[in-house]
């Protein structure tokens, strides 16, 4: 099972977008339309996140978000071999993305891996992702926007 042959889609970097960034930056009236649009993208197969993001949501997300994630199971892409290897390779290149002493996994490297493999946009960056993009520069390719 690989993720390489699928058409380009947006890769949702995690619920930081839905809850963290959106909740802090956007006015509340925008949130419902944002959620609706993300839902439409997911239904159309134009939006994906690695399964580790679901783990993150299950672990620290709000009950609302957990319910939302459960209702959008199609969003989450299993960690196929190519994603595993690409994620591990990114973590090896950017040690800041993996702290072996930490008790939990950040999905960041695997989200980047999925975007790389699908040759697509990465939405949106966390601070670490920004650092990586600044240094790597070629992770986001498909939509022309470099985040």
């Amino acid at each position: 099972m690989t993720a390489t042959e699928q058409r380009p889609v947006n890769v949702l970097a995690g619920h930081k977008h839905v809850h963290g960034l959106a909740g802090k930056v956007l006015p509340p009236r925008c949130l419902s339309s944002l959620e609706l649009k993300i839902g439409q993208l997911i239904d159309a197969g134009d939006c994906a996140a690695v399964a580790l993001v679901k783990e993150e949501i299950d672990s620290v997300g709000t009950p609302d978000l957990q319910t939302w994630a459960k209702g959008h199971a199609g969003l989450f892409v299993p960690l196929a071999t190519d994603i595993q290897l690409a994620g591990a390779s990114i973590e090896a290149r950017y040690p800041d993305l993996l702290d072996p002493k930490s008790p939990y996994q950040s999905a960041d490297a695997y989200v980047i891996a999925l975007a790389q493999i699908r040759n697509t946009n990465l939405v949106p960056p966390s601070r670490v992702l920004l650092d990586v993009c600044d240094r790597g520069g070629s992770i986001v390719t498909s939509g022309g926007s470099k985040l």
């Binding site: 802090k24 009950p63 960690l79 591990a88 973590e91 993996l98 002493k101 930490s102």
Partner: protein, 401 residues
């Protein structure tokens, strides 16, 4: 994830993570619901676990999933190079519970330093060094002075829970992080210190039910921190004293902690108002005196003995009476700690405050804040409010055990 995808893990890392966790293979296999042979085959590289099984391993070992894909085991100092020598813990063969408690403490301490730096705050510096040659009374007095706890203030505290919060806050303000850890049997340790400067950390076993006992453990650990700063003791891995010599250091710490919590002058003043002949102390009288200082009766009896108000024989008799009294009590009824109480109890107010400030300043994400505080994101606002009102932890269920 319905499809069983094999995980391309490095078997060496499977062994490393298990050994670092302290769990034997049998326990891990049982926990994962696989045969021991299967786990051993994974660790030899003869078979591969599925992604789901690898995630389960990561959860059980409290390691990031990605660690199993590293080309070689990371170079991490042994835990015993961080914590003080403990009579009940052998360096290198610590229990899984103790290992996890230490790792959480160390990670929080590292985060605290990092967040202080990111926010442009100066890391508070603990400066009270102690020497064994000074004697425990002098050291206890100096520590109390450094903490700035006035005796009038102490005698006016409402109850032992308030006393615990006030002592803890005073220690945190002096530049020492204070955490509580669950699940470690008391026989292993009641407290532990991380002897790294700046920002050393003290961990208190939350199985210690009485707040007065936690206070005593806290001050006991603080003495060890002060001795480490004075170069009188070092981390468990490098501490070379014999067991007998080490017990002398432990006794020193006990006496200094007693003096810090119950100063001789304040004790004498209280004793002037009580007519008890030497060794005439019964359980009720010691309890009444202990309540005034917001300490446990056992700590008070120990203090009376060290102050000369009890002989060793009288002390032994009192302890026997005390044990009978405790055995006659109904089992303690624990309340249910809220998630916010647990976070405040375990991580401490100063660490929580720091994480919230970092979140507000957009230095960390909501996910990171939730992870650092071990709290779901929707509880963060309640945590913020409890932090302001100071109500949390007043119920005696702030440990989450």
């Amino acid at each position: 994830m319905s499809v069983a995808i094999p995980a391309e893990v490095n078997p060496t890392l499977l062994v490393w993570a298990r050994e670092q966790s302290g769990y034997p293979a049998e326990i891990v296999a049982k926990r994962l619901g696989v045969k021991l042979d299967r786990l051993e085959a994974w660790e030899r590289g003869e078979r591969k676990p599925t992604v789901r099984q690898t995630q389960e391993l990561a959860k059980y070992y409290h390691r990031p999933f990605g660690v199993f894909f590293l080309p070689q085991p990371p170079s991490i100092p042994p835990l015993a190079a961080e914590y003080r020598r403990l009579p009940g813990v052998r360096p290198g063969v610590e229990s899984p519970e103790f290992r996890l408690a230490m790792r959480v403490m160390l990670q929080r301490r590292e985060l605290a330093i990092q967040l202080n730096d990111e926010l442009g705050f100066a890391v508070p510096e603990f400066r009270t060094a102690a020497r064994l040659s000074e004697g425990p009374t002098t050291v206890g007095q100096r520590l109390r002075e450094a903490l700035g706890v006035a005796i009038e203030q102490q005698l006016a505290w409402r109850d032992e829970w308030q006393a615990w919060r006030e002592w803890r806050s005073a220690v945190e303000q002096s530049g020492v992080l204070v955490f509580q850890f669950p699940k470690v049997p008391l026989e292993q340790t009641r407290g532990v210190s991380v002897l790294d400067f700046p920002l050393p950390a003290v961990g208190i076993n939350s199985k210690e039910g009485a707040p007065g006992a936690r206070i005593y453990s806290l001050l006991h650990e603080l003495v060890h921190v002060a001795l480490a700063l004075g170069k009188e003791e070092t981390v468990a891995l490098r501490e070379l004293r014999s067991d007998t010599q080490w017990m002398d250091v432990e006794r020193f710490a006990e006496e200094a902690a007693s003096e810090a919590i119950i100063p001789q002058s304040a004790l004498e003043q209280q004793l002037r108002g009580i007519t008890v002949v030497r060794d005439g102390w019964d359980v009720a009288r010691v309890r009444a005196l202990a309540a005034r200082f917001r300490v446990t009766p056992l700590a008070m009896a120990t203090r009376l003995r060290s102050a000369g108000a009890m002989s060793w024989d009288g002390y032994r008799q009192w302890r026997a009476d005390w044990s009978d009294f405790v055995a006659s009590l109904k089992p303690r009824r624990g309340g249910i700690a809220s998630p916010v109480d647990k976070t405040l109890g375990r991580a401490g107010r100063s660490f929580v405050q720091l994480v919230l400030e970092a979140l507000d300043a957009n230095r960390i994400t909501a996910v990171e804040a939730s992870r650092y505080l071990d709290l779901r994101f929707d509880h963060i606002e309640k945590l913020r409010s409890e932090l302001t009102t100071g109500a949390a932890g007043s119920t005696g269920v702030d440990d989450g055990d």
